[in-house]
Symmetry: D2
């Protein structure tokens, strides 16, 4: 059985050997190790893919042994993921269709090892796409008057469908602090600028106004501060004086969908870790 273990802990001598020795002792074959030391913070990060011949009850046992033999003595925060368990992703959209189309066509072709129990939108415009891909669609309007009501319905759906993480595919609405707290580093947004430049509304207009020669897109985990969460992936494309704002938007669409899909894939494959509002990306 394939497992992925993610660890971070204070950096200390011998830590790689302790972990690899433990896995070996428990009958696991290590397939791939990634590690990183943040020297400033003195923190060690590790991602470990292993193959165990054991069955699930044994793995549960393994969890307890890991906790006692490694996690407690070395002050680790850690998680273990079974390869057989696909994370469950909620897709929040509004009116733009390029990101949702790109994600769903990758999902459809088997590129993304994920479950998508539902799509939610504050408008009904994209319901037809949910229908095309045979995924339940929930229309949860989000006007000023019914914000609290919307939050309740969102939380109810997230709980009912046992959602692991949320993807905002140009959702264009603020996620409430309560939901952010329920899904820490588990809400992925796409912002249409190379952050931290042009945070906030209308970044293409601001980029045009400033006369930049390169525009970008940034996918990040959502935190309470707008567009300031840990960056997962960014990419850019060149523009010239001859491009209008409309051209920026068109070129930007191609960036947005690719950057968001890359970030979502990294998250699904459990290749992202977060510390001090920054990501470690084991790609």
């Amino acid at each position: 059985m394939k497992t992925t273990i993610l660890i971070h802990c204070p950096d200390q001598s011998g830590i790689i050997s302790y972990v690899t020795g433990f896995i070996h002792k428990k009958g696991g074959n290590i397939i791939y190790i990634d590690q990183h030391v943040d020297k400033e913070a003195g923190v060690f990060f590790m991602r470990l893919e292993s193959d165990f011949e054991n069955n699930i009850p044994v793995v549960k046992n393994l969890k307890q042994q890991f906790e006692e033999e490694l996690a407690i003595p070395y002050q680790m925060e850690w998680s273990l993921h079974l390869g057989s368990t696909k994370p469950r992703m909620a897709l929040f959209v509004s009116k733009y269709n390029h990101c949702i189309y790109d994600l769903l066509s990758r999902f459809h072709s088997g590129e993304l090892a994920v479950e998508i129990p539902f799509i939610l939108s504050n408008h009904a415009d994209l319901e037809y796409i949910a229908t095309q891909f045979d995924i339940p669609f929930h229309h949860v309007p989000n006007s000023k008057q019914n914000k609290l009501n919307a939050e309740s319905r969102q939380i109810a759906l997230l709980e009912e469908y046992k959602i692991d993480f949320i993807v905002l595919a140009r959702y264009m609405q603020i996620i409430t602090p309560k939901i952010i707290e329920l899904f820490p580093n588990k809400i992925i947004n796409i912002h249409h600028s190379f952050l931290p430049a042009f945070a906030g509304a209308k970044p293409y207009h601001a980029a045009f106004q400033r006369g930049v020669k390169i525009i970008g897109a940034t996918s990040h985990y959502v935190t309470e501060e707008l567009d300031a969460g840990p960056i997962i992936e960014q990419d850019v494309t060149r523009v010239t004086h001859a491009h209008s704002i409309k051209d920026f938007i068109t070129k930007g669409r191609d960036l947005e969908k690719i950057v968001l899909s890359r970030a979502v894939k990294l998250h699904i494959d459990r290749k992202t870790m977060v510390y001090n509002n920054k990501t470690v990306i084991f790609s």
Copy 2:
């Protein structure tokens, strides 16, 4: 004789034909036309390379005729540059040698059609490079106490050597408003971030702190507001969590020198025009 004409004026019907017809009538052969219309501002930009069989006195005549027949009726701001006249560039440096080395080796290999009458620095460290390339070097210290004195010496040198434009090759010092006024859109700086992100001091440290996945460099014309002038050229390179600030600085050096050299070459070839704090780049 090869000439380059740069024009901007209110956009109006027929303007391309008026200009091309004028050149043809005066015995010029148009080699290359670039043009751009800023539709928001209603401004027309043109760059025109022509070959005249005439000699220099005739060209002077041409200037007057252009002024009367085109510039005044169509409210043009314009300039005419003889291909035989190389612009005169002053190079301001401090302690970093990568940008000056890159510029001078391109100059040495004939890539840049420019005169470099002198190199100026607030430190003596790089005098050896000026010596290597046989260019006069002026050490003008720039401490708090002697700022005014430094400005006077700088202006005296710029005037004495009949300088056309200034390149700040990681000069790291503020250029005084008086000099900026003397050289409007004629001072080229390299800033080590993808502006407008991380303007000001220590941009690599700020980029590291924010956890960006891409770093950049920006070459721009200097205006009174720090790092806010018209952008000439930008480029970027990918970074990961595994890169330290020192890595950012090393990777950034390669960006800085290439972006600055490209911007300088565009300026030398008179392929840049400025309007509303933005550039039109005819590349």
Copy 3:
């Protein structure tokens, strides 16, 4: 009425002025000029967007005048396209859906000013996409035995629907010489390598075998020699030793669709000219 004129002819002094003067004289306002001189071949290329206040009968007159006053004396090959006339594109596909999806979603969002009268495939697999976008689908099998029959049906369809150009969106079949002759420089293919490397079958396998660090995709006009026609657009992406052939294919899909869509847009906007098996791209 907006028109685009494409010209190539022997290079000669004054040619830009002759053309721009003609347009002006006929009441046209030149919006945009692009030009290029191939100095080796001594050939001049021009693309000219103009706005005429006249109606269509006048434009027909214009064509005759252009022919007499410019094309004949200056030995021009030229064409005039009315902005109101969208080119008619046939889409040939096989079993892969990523390129057709990308093209049709851009078409759907108004990015491509084209008519798509039909989609043709040698398999029935992608008929559902034609249905989704409400475009007639023709299944024309292409096995060894019925190649001639297939060619006849293809030609009949191309004529019946008055097709201007053909896009091979991973069609994977050889286009017959007869059809290539009917559509010279009007059949656009996407090849999944940075040509001329890895022409022919299975380029990702060959790239993997060679151990390249960059893979690419190339869109080109189809000529009789396989994968050797004029290149319209290319792009690349980095790979490492850690990527499998399957990873190459997945990453390549993202390249293929973007490179093909860019090439198709350039063709639709009449920004491509072909000479000596090379393209001039006025982008």
Copy 4:
């Protein structure tokens, strides 16, 4: 004491644990592990940075123990490098100065942890650069008549100076099979195309002729077959119809020097391994 161990061996279960356990047992602290499995070939690759408190005699002991306890039982090919030992690099040049300048300025600024005991050239043109950087220069002409003589002098110099690897910085001469045999996967060349396209002479001319939209440069280990050795690093840049062959050469120079410097740095940092004419790059 810092050490780097490079291993490749048949892939087998538990191999990571065996190695990491061994290091730990011998008092080493593992700083960084990279690994790769070539699934087709069934080969395991590993790069391991460790810190030992021990002194050099102990490390010699370590080598023997590693050989007995790991290398023999697991059929490893392996090497151990002390962090304190800089590899010794010979620089072969001809008349172009951009690559040598780039390498030496990085060397000078401390970016490359290498010794450069001498520079060799078949021409005397670049002796002044060797003088600038205070490195012995050997002029070894290489005309048809004295090829054997040249080879003897080259080998004598390589042995006298105890050279570990050779960098061909646009050397433009064929390296003899005898020298290739003496330095297997230890001669680094820069070829001015994105191999395998345009192998052999005059690649920029061939690229221009073919009308490509992207040009490249490739750094590879030299093998007997010309331009066919394992690729270490590649990069590309865009070109258009407007670029002449001379422009290709100028743009290419910037690529060549950066790609070669990256490859040399990877080799110096012992981050390259070679298998089946392909490289594993642990960057």
